[in-house]
């Protein structure tokens, strides 16, 4: 049943959305931006929910991924798709530098990651010969046209980012269902207790960190080639951390698809509806929405949707019995 | 004598899980009431319900004849009814001394906190050595002593005690029962939940046996026969 819903939604996303919005660069652009956030959001939730590590510095991986990929493509002529994957690898490698932070817990870990994001940003600013310094990189190569599909255009970019997000979410789901997922869940507040029953908790956490960094890096790399411009301020901006977190929690960060749903909801509502209603202070509405959501459905939007559906289903069954 | 605490057809539990099914019992002033029963019978749950830590679903709790159903925990404490929980319920991030001082938090007790603290230290010399240690690092038994000492700092009128002997060395258990006896002699009303039935019965004025969330026996302390009591436990277990 669940699989059927998933397949239907994916079909709609891959075929329906391009058909309907293909001609509207603006809407499609917004959807791509929302999915970019969704990608980071899934990666963040993977680390936060499975690994029990709330990070306030995912911008670090986003930025590293985007710079690695952009520089590889621009300076070394690496094909863009390959560069994008290598961007993810770069972010994963960078995450190794952040591993001492795995010893830290809760807010200590969260802020250590923020510190890393700052440090990477400053390094990107200071490494002028490679990164172009504060001025950044303009005219980063765009995605090529492959077999007639113009990946450099809006629709092509949409398909790429959609695929990244879907793969990330599926990977997340697979891990969550595995024994690893169970052990990770068990670790949260009681890491010591899991260790004495044989769980190599540090290794598991490190693996999640690397995976999360990789996904974030790929998304960052995608974004760099998609908007074709980079600057330390932008690539490492705190928005790349803050928005995905807000979106993940809004959507329900303990579910796999919650972060995706949350990102789409928050970004599109804000840009399409609130901005329309209140051109200047529309973020105020967004803030209020976040508050209301947390107060009325602390588990996020996803549980709300699922609960609604489940209730309906139960109703139907009761009917059938009667 | 007029009952100090009356519990009538009490129903309570944890959300969807109901634990207490129409529990009724009375506690008389100045007496020691002992509640025994197998594990999971709902003894701790009963104490929690009386203290307002969990909501009451049905029935009533009366103190001095007035209903206290739905009263807030802190108000109950202020009226002199105090619970000494098991040792896990200390303040793990505070020092031993600060833990004890929290026992003197109710307004009436603050004045005498110094004297009471000395009294507690006298009962449990182990705590003196540990007075500046963070309570979360105490050994299990030390934490249990701290919980008891802290409760006594509150100078209660009625004291509900949950398994005080748990995890304590035999010498200390002896000391605990000596203290309980002394408090009873001083006129304190005590409600004691204890698995060490033989020890508890020795100081009991009234004994209740709980099983599966119900009171299945109520008897005056001096009339209870240990073997018969244990047989009752057992009878129920086979029946279940």
């Amino acid at each position: 049943m669940k699989a059927v819903v998933l397949i239907a939604v994916l079909a709609l996303a891959y075929v329906g959305v391009p058909l309907v919005f293909g001609g509207n660069a603006y809407i499609l652009g917004l959807i791509v931006a929302a999915l970019t956030i969704a990608g980071v959001s899934v990666a963040w939730a993977l680390l936060g929910n499975l690994g029990g590590m709330v990070s306030f510095g995912h911008a670090a991986f986003f930025g590293v991924g985007s710079y690695v990929s952009a520089v590889l493509a621009m300076k070394l002529g690496v094909p863009v798709f390959a560069a994008m994957v290598l961007g993810g690898v770069g972010a994963a490698v960078a995450s190794v530098a952040t591993m001492p932070a795995l010893r830290l817990k809760g807010p200590y870990f969260a802020l250590a990651m923020l510190a890393y994001a700052h440090i990477f940003q400053i390094l990107a600013t200071e490494m002028t010969p490679v990164t172009g310094g504060a001025g950044g990189l303009l005219s980063i190569p765009r995605f090529p046209t492959v077999m007639g599909v113009e990946f450099g255009e809006k629709t092509g970019g949409y398909l790429i980012v959609l695929t990244i997000v879907v793969l990330a979410a599926l990977a997340y789901d697979a891990i969550r269902r595995s024994a690893w997922g169970l052990a990770l869940k068990a670790m949260h507040d009681t890491e010591q207790a899991t260790r004495v029953v044989g769980v190599p908790s540090t290794h598991l956490k490190a693996a999640m960190l690397v995976l999360s960094a990789f996904i974030t890096g790929v998304v960052g790399a995608f974004n760099a080639h998609f908007i074709s411009f980079l600057q330390p301020d932008y690539a490492f901006a705190s928005t790349w951390t803050v928005l995905p977190i807000a979106a993940a929690i809004f959507g329900g960060y303990r579910t796999v698809w919650g972060p995706v749903v949350g990102s789409l909801a928050i970004y599109l509502l804000d840009q399409l509806v609130f901005k329309e209603l209140m051109p200047h202070g529309h973020q105020l509405v967004l803030g209020a929405l976040l508050c209301v959501m947390i107060l009325f459905s602390p588990g996020g939007l996803m549980p709300l949707l699922v609960r609604r559906r489940r209730r309906k289903k139960e109703g139907v069954q009761a009917h059938a019995h009667a | 004598m007029k009952p100090l605490l009356e519990i009538e057809s009490l129903r309570a539990g944890y959300g969807a899980i109901n634990v207490l099914w129409d529990v009724s019992l009375t506690v008389e002033a100045g007496k020691t009431t002992v509640i025994v029963g197998p594990n999971g019978a709902g003894k701790t749950t009963l104490l929690r319900a009386v203290m307002g830590l969990i909501p009451v679903e049905g029935g009533d709790i009366r103190v001095d004849g007035a209903s206290r159903r739905g009263a807030k925990t802190w108000d109950t404490v202020a009226s002199g009814i105090v619970m000494i929980p098991e040792g896990r319920m200390i303040f793990p991030d505070m020092t031993v001394e600060d833990n004890l001082m929290m026992g003197a938090f109710p307004r009436g007790c603050r004045r005498d906190w110094k004297r009471n603290k000395e009294m507690v230290f006298e009962m449990f010399p182990r705590l003196v050595e540990r007075r500046h240690q963070i309570a979360g690092t105490l050994s299990g038994g030390e934490a249990q002593m701290l919980a008891i000492g802290r409760g006594l700092m509150e100078q209660p009128r009625v004291c509900l005690i949950d398994e005080p002997s748990l995890g304590l060395a035999p010498v200390v258990v002896d000391e605990i029962f000596r203290i309980l006896g002394r408090l009873r002699d001083q006129g304190m009303t005590i409600v004691l939940v204890e698995q060490n039935t033989s020890r508890a019965l020795k100081i009991a004025d009234q004994v209740y046996l709980m099983q599966s969330g119900k009171v299945v026996m109520s008897e005056r302390g001096d009339r209870v026969d240990l073997d018969r009591l244990h047989a009752l436990y057992f009878a129920h277990e086979t029946a279940a």
Binding site: N24, A33, A134, G135, G136, S139, F229, Q231, H280 | -
Partner: protein, 365 residues
């Protein structure tokens, strides 16, 4: 005929303040154009807040083009204008701005991109003033952003070439206490003038620190966002004798009729004196509108003739003569320098534009 112009500006976020300023100038230009072309054409502007975010600026541009905007005016911050004007270029729509001065923007050679000011023009003014002062040692204190670094480097190389000793001090946007930095200026550089390249809060921070430490300098010079009415009003004790780029004196002493009308309209709409941001926003928009009308009348507007028409611009404006080169830059652009003098801004450089004498040496303390 009614024309829709699009405008993408930071109305919230870090650059909100300057974005608002330009926004006001654009609004004035629209009002005045509607009056000037009354009966023939009318103009409307649709403004979208880019929230100081490049991706949202791109979205805004796409949205505006989708809504049928004939051209775009606005943008602030080189880093945001970069991607935004690229989106416009892709759609073949003209993008004109005064909010991005870095050379990289015009280096791209986009046929649809135009701007009326540039880094060189600011540098020219600052360098010219410092040369006129005849100072031999200068400390340049600059923000480590792209546009500011660029400008600071231009000033450094020009002054060094003239034999002036230049001390360079970079700072970060997060800097809020400038005392340690100024202490270096005071004790290590021992310079005669401080040249600041940053934004308002940086200037205020630097001047405050200088006021506390009292280095032995003869002048404090800055660039944009400094010699303004707003600053004179908000920080009277800090601004006295400070120099900054300014096209017009304050209170405005307009002589040309257009300028007078502009000032009156501004006052009417926003109930305050126009400042430099408003002036730039006005000028760029007015030039755009005039070009639109010319293209419309020539019948080339629909066929992408607007860019060519704009490139033919040669006008005397509030900010001086404007013409565009092949890459869309206004090579005539040279700024002027004003000095805060007892609550007013007096133009002191270049000589021919000056409306008062420079108070030199002079510092706010």
């Amino acid at each position: 005929k009614e024309f829709l112009l699009g405008s993408e500006l930071p109305l919230t976020g870090n650059l909100a303040r300057v974005g608002q300023g330009m926004h006001e100038g654009i609004a004035v230009a629209i009002e005045m154009a509607n009056r000037a072309y009354a009966g023939k054409h009318s103009f409307k502007v649709s403004t979208i807040d880019d929230e100081t975010n490049p991706a949202k600026a791109v979205a805004a541009v796409e949205r505006l083009i989708g809504d049928g905007a004939v051209a775009l005016t606005g943008g602030y911050g080189s880093n945001i204008i970069g991607p935004a004007s690229e989106a416009a270029q892709k759609a073949g729509v003209v993008y004109i701005t005064s909010g991005g001065v870095t050379p990289e923007l015009t280096a791209r050679g986009y046929p649809t991109f135009f701007r009326i000011n540039n880094s060189e023009g600011y540098a020219k003014a600052m360098i010219g003033l410092l040369e006129d002062m005849g100072v031999k040692k200068v400390s340049v204190v600059y923000l480590n952003k792209d546009a500011t670094t660029n400008l600071a480097k231009q000033v450094q190389s020009a002054l060094s070439a003239k034999g002036v000793t230049v001390g360079m001090h970079e700072f970060d946007a997060a800097t809020s206490d400038f005392k340690p930095l100024l202490n270096k200026v005071k004790l290590q550089d021992r310079s005669e003038a401080i040249a600041m390249v940053g934004y308002e809060n940086d200037y205020v921070g630097i001047l405050r620190a200088a006021k506390v430490l009292k280095p032995q300098v003869k002048a404090v010079v800055g660039v944009w966002s400094l010699a303004t009415a707003q600053m004179a009003k908000e920080f009277p004790d800090l601004m006295e004798n400070v120099y900054g780029t300014s096209m017009l004196p304050y209170p405005v002493e307009f002589t040309q009729p257009e300028a007078l009308e502009f000032a009156a309209e501004y006052k009417k709409l926003f109930n305050k004196e126009p400042d430099y941001l408003g002036q730039f926003g006005y000028v760029q928009t007015r030039l755009l509108i005039d070009a639109i009308v010319r293209a419309e009348e020539a019948g080339t507007l629909a066929k992408g003739g607007l860019a060519d028409e704009l490139r033919r611009t040669d006008a005397q404006t509030l900010i001086g003569r404007v013409t565009f080169d092949a890459k869309g830059d206004n090579t005539n652009f040279s700024h002027r320098m004003g000095q805060h003098q007892t609550g007013k801004v007096v133009l002191v450089w270049p000589k021919d534009a000056a409306n008062g004498a420079m108070r030199f040496p002079g510092v706010p303390w």
